[in-house]
């Protein structure tokens, strides 16, 4: 029904609920709804709004011979009720008003057609409505709430993103502990976290600069980059420590590492990065995001592992190599 009318666009709606039946036939409630609609329609991101208000105004206009002066809300509850009665009496379908009002006329919907399914747009609309209600108190006994898929996305996003950020932080700490145990050294553990910290911070920075939201695909990518980057780091450090234990000095150890294991790490990164690039041509934005970012994650963390990590190890070689310095 709605998709027929609105062509499958992004819909959200405000629900106004009164304490008693027929509450929404009250002229005060209808005119409040009309004002909210007018305010919302001023917003760039909002397409059309519709509600019982439009139906009642339309009937008023039509019964008065399509006189523009009557394209307004009637002043009494009776007049409103009788217009709705007339509307239903001449409607094809007895459920014609069901999208706008419940069976008892205790609650009514204001439909918003958003131009995009964007969460940021929806948050903006929410803020405008909050501000409107602060300045114009709701009629007595009336409650107003958001509903609809576009709005649910915002709620879901908030919960999901919050959860993801907590999970990522938790993951970071756990990996750090594991690394410290694996290398039996907090310092080495910390160094092994370098590539993934660098990659995640850089990616979030780029996402922020590009004006993209922290959404589901990005959240998943953070978790993935955590896993992939640590892999490179473990590989690199394990080999390096092996050489150091075998008695190599730092310079010699690096020479050995950069000969073979480093090449393996770099090739690994390139292969996976290239493997994900076809996603850039996918029709859906989330796929493009995943493809683009996964490729960058691989390259960035390989670069961080092969350039940044050795640099840091060398800079702090005194304390890092104490154990190997016999």
């Amino acid at each position: 029904m709605l998709n027929e009318h609105f062509g499958g666009t992004y819909m959200a709606y405000l629900v106004l609920t009164g304490e008693e039946n027929d509450a929404v036939k009250d002229p005060a409630v209808l005119s409040y709804m009309e004002k909210i609609q007018q305010r919302l329609e001023l917003m760039e991101v909002v397409g059309k709004t519709s509600s019982l208000v439009d139906v009642v105004k339309r009937v008023n206009y039509v019964v008065h011979g399509e006189d523009g002066a009557y394209n307004v809300l009637p002043s009494s509850k009776e007049e409103t009720a009788q217009y709705l009665f007339l509307f239903l009496a001449s409607a094809d379908d007895p459920d014609e008003l069901d999208n706008y009002v419940d069976y008892d006329y205790a609650s009514a919907n204001i439909w918003l057609q958003m131009k995009k399914g964007n969460n940021r747009d929806m948050q903006g609309v929410e803020a405008v409505v909050r501000e409107f209600v602060d300045e114009n108190p709701l009629p007595p006994g009336i409650e107003m709430n958001w509903a609809g898929l576009t709005y649910l996305n915002v709620i879901w996003q908030k919960k999901m993103v919050g959860g993801m950020i907590r999970a990522l932080m938790g993951g970071f700490v756990v990996v750090l502990i594991l690394m410290s145990i694996l290398f039996r050294s907090f310092r080495w553990g910390l160094v092994s976290m370098l590539p993934l910290s660098f990659t995640i911070v850089l990616i979030y920075g780029v996402i922020g600069l590009a004006g993209k939201e922290y959404d589901m695909p990005v959240a998943i990518l953070s978790a993935l980059s955590l896993g992939l980057s640590i892999d490179f780091a473990i590989h690199f450090i394990q080999r390096l420590r092996g050489r150091l234990s075998a008695g190599d000095g730092l310079e010699t150890a690096f020479e050995n590492i950069f000969a073979e294991p480093a090449r393996a790490i770099f090739r690994n990164a390139i292969v996976i990065a290239i493997g994900f690039t076809p996603l850039l041509f996918a029709p859906l934005t989330p796929y493009q995001t995943v493809g683009g970012f996964l490729a960058s994650i691989m390259m960035l963390s390989a670069v961080a592992t092969l350039l940044l990590m050795p640099g840091i190890i060398k800079t702090f070689s005194k304390s890092m190599l104490r154990r190997f310095a016999q």
Partner: protein, 272 residues
Amino acid sequence: MRRITPRLLVFSVVLAALALTPLSRAAGQSAEEIMKKYHLIYYYAAEDGRAVVQMKLINKQGKTRERYFTMLRRDVEEGGRQKYFIYFHRPGDVRGTVFMVHKHPGKDDDRWLYIPAINLTKRIAANDKRTSFMGSDYTYEDVSGRNPADDDHELIKEEALDGKQVYLIKSVPKNKGSVDFAYRLIWIDKESYLPLKEEYYNSRQELYKVFTADKIEEIEGILTITARTMKNLETGHRTEVSFESIDYNAGLTDEVFSKRYFKNPPRKWIKK
């Protein structure tokens, strides 16, 4: 062994043919005749009639909207033109609303709605008799009667329904495009010729709407359905209608059924 004479052969063939003819012949009445009689008895009882009607619209969730109105009917010609004047008492916010229909079989009805809040009479488009009557599950035709000549009728069988002997008739609209149902089954009481049950089927042969006569009473010597339900199986919506204060041959004159009485309906028949 007797020889089969040509005469005996002819006799046997005639007998066999008689045995195979549709039930309608055997019953002495054709399906068309039954439907005509039903139409007159159900929709044209007496010369005129008044009733106070309670109509309950109940949706799938069990929520109810109530309409309470006085209905006046006058038959201009038996089985033909008819006039209805409907005055709404409840819901309170539509009190005083009047709905009037002048029914002209074979062409579009005239319908008016009077809106008391602005003292205005509005003509309502009446080109589709199959639309909902006042937001109920009944169509305008269900209320004022579908012309039997609009359908082809077939007597399926005679049987017992709830202890009553009935005719089961299948009606198929002649003009299929104009009607919401593909065919209708109707169980007509042999004694009263009132409909006890109706089933409406769509073009996929699925049952989607059911009418039942829930209570039949004798009023002023006329058997009358005083409670009835129409249920839409697709939407889960149903409409229950009950009649009180029924008065046949109430002496309703033709002038009652005019716009002049919208603002001040005739007190004699309509108590505000």
